[in-house]
């Protein structure tokens, strides 16, 4: 069996002995406005239902310039944080008849740019972007071209855009306070060597809290591209065991993972001597021994807000919304790893 020949507006028109124009008006709900008689509307609708006609999206897109596709670009779609949000975005988009192209930029500018270029040729309707450090100009260009763009997780200072994220500084400040309140005094902060806002602000929060309490700053910044994963772990190992620390605060989930591996591989029992806290929650932190305290980002809410905003921008009537910044609440989840240790 070969493909049955597809139905088309033209075909329908011929069958009903009317013009394609009429069919199109009816299908697009413009019948009333265009003074099509009720009887005619009825006839078209009935036939369309009978043959289960579905318009060809490509033709539609070509003519209207709208592809009904949005892009969700993140650092790494396989990262639990992003994957969870993606899952939610997917549902919300499909509900509204939008499809989502997911892609990973690896936090690299070249990849981000290549991807954006690729999508432009495909006339994607909107972008949700977790931007790599150096694509401010490219984002600006998109906005200039009047294409809906929402940044999330991180943004560019000085560039007004739609944004969905959290108050990283405040969350980090509170998290550090939590450690301090639980009696930790020599708190090491392990983060990425980047100036991107999300990380910069987490560091700010840490510095603010330690400063306020007269504690010394102990920061390890790791290059994103620090050679192989092994050398990254070496750095962490040295920091943890050579510095004089009583607590370690990781700024993001994959650093935490590396950190926990370092403990496991070197001296598993030593982890109980430290306060451990991480940004980004994960189911496994509830299972780890000890259970790991975490700052949870509101993933579901982020996804909802992102899509709610995007859908507004995709509507003609609300597309010229002034840049909207949506800052959501984080949650500190204290678990065993931040209970004061009795050395």
């Amino acid at each position: 069996m070969k493909k049955a020949k597809k139905h088309s507006v033209k075909g329908i028109a011929e069958k009903l002995n009317i013009s394609p124009t009429t069919v199109s008006f009816v299908l697009n709900g413009k019948a009333k406005e265009k003074k099509i008689s009720d009887e005619m509307i009825e006839r078209v609708l009935a036939y369309v239902k009978e043959i289960n006609y579905k318009p060809n999206q490509l033709a539609q897109s070509l003519r209207t310039g709208k592809s009904k596709i949005i892009v969700f670009m993140v650092e790494d779609i396989s990262n639990h944080f992003f994957a969870s949000i993606a899952r939610k975005i997917e549902d919300l988009a499909y509900e509204q008849d939008y499809k989502v192209l997911f892609c990973s930029n690896e936090n690299k500018d070249k990849k981000s740019r290549d991807l954006i270029q690729l999508f432009k040729d495909r006339q994607v309707d909107g972008y949700i972007i977790n931007p790599s450090p150096g694509i401010k100009k490219d984002i600006e260009a998109l906005i200039q071209e009047d294409i809906p763009v929402i940044l999330f997780d991180r943004y560019f200072p000085g560039l007004k855009t739609h944004f969905v994220g959290i108050d990283n500084e405040e969350a980090s400040y509170k998290a550090t306070l939590h450690l301090i309140e639980n009696g930790f005094k020599k708190i090491g902060f392990i983060t990425l060597a980047t100036t991107q806002t999300q990380m910069a602000n987490r560091k700010k929060g840490y510095l603010k809290a330690t400063k306020e309490h007269g504690l010394s700053e102990r920061v390890l910044e790791i290059e994103f591209e620090a050679g192989n994963p092994q050398s990254k772990k070496e750095l962490i190992k040295e920091f943890i065991f050579k510095e004089d620390l009583d607590a370690i605060y990781f700024s993001t989930n994959y650093l935490t993972q590396s950190g926990l591996e370092v403990f496991k591989e070197n001296s598993p029992e030593l982890i109980d001597k430290f306060g451990i806290l991480t940004f980004d929650d994960h189911e496994f932190f509830k299972i780890h021994t000890p259970t790991i305290s975490a700052i949870a980002q509101p993933k579901d809410a982020m996804a909802s807000e992102l899509m709610k905003l995007m859908l507004m921008l995709l509507k003609k009537s609300t597309k010229d919304l002034p840049p909207k910044e949506i800052i959501l609440k984080t949650e500190l989840l204290p678990r065993q790893s931040t209970l004061l240790k009795n050395h």
Copy 2:
């Protein structure tokens, strides 16, 4: 600044005082075949490069019937196993100028069908599907229509299709043997209540090994939709603590997660009394206390094979390949959790 007017084949033709046909031939590499002079080719190419012209994919797709989009449909794109494969698929597809639409069917037939219908209207070029239990007919229909389809992870007995996966029975058999060899005799198997091949075969492997060694079968089958997550854990809890077991073998990653939570929430110390083994590896199993032995599926290889096969099917010359089954090797990763416990 508004959108600069886009370039087009027609525009290029006018500028160069030639016909769009010529431009198109040159752009599509048919110049030689169509006897376009070298000089002309040169002229077109130069101008195209100068204005950085990129063809409109939508128009191209409409005309050729090829969208350069493939679908990757899985149970849940946020599940680590699927997300990792998705990440790899993404890279391989983009390399070949294909985009990927990721989507989750939640292992539900209705959702699978709705999604497939949706994509048909969009003339997607090919499908990689992790099918829900009851969509054999729908898959058959796709194949009848001559659309490239590859199933993975699970398949439909009696329906010849392209397939990429592992030998679940063998992997499960070896895993069970591993437990037996390590001295465990009362091995509980926790799985999903489904007849889908991947799970059915894992059970077969378990049954074969226990039978061969004269051990009794201890199986807990959980409904996929077993109410809330809590009631799922209740079932597991009862099974673990009420049955007389010395080892537990989980058939898939999220059951393992629930199981580990049950231990953690009820009597964390008791986990050391049991042998624990899981299908599907995860970074966190290396960090867990004790570290959890796992059967790792070759995620990277699966992704590569899937895309390699898909790209073949997308080429006219190789599209009529007879159904190809690619069965990949799994790896048993023994860790602390399956060392014999000294009760």
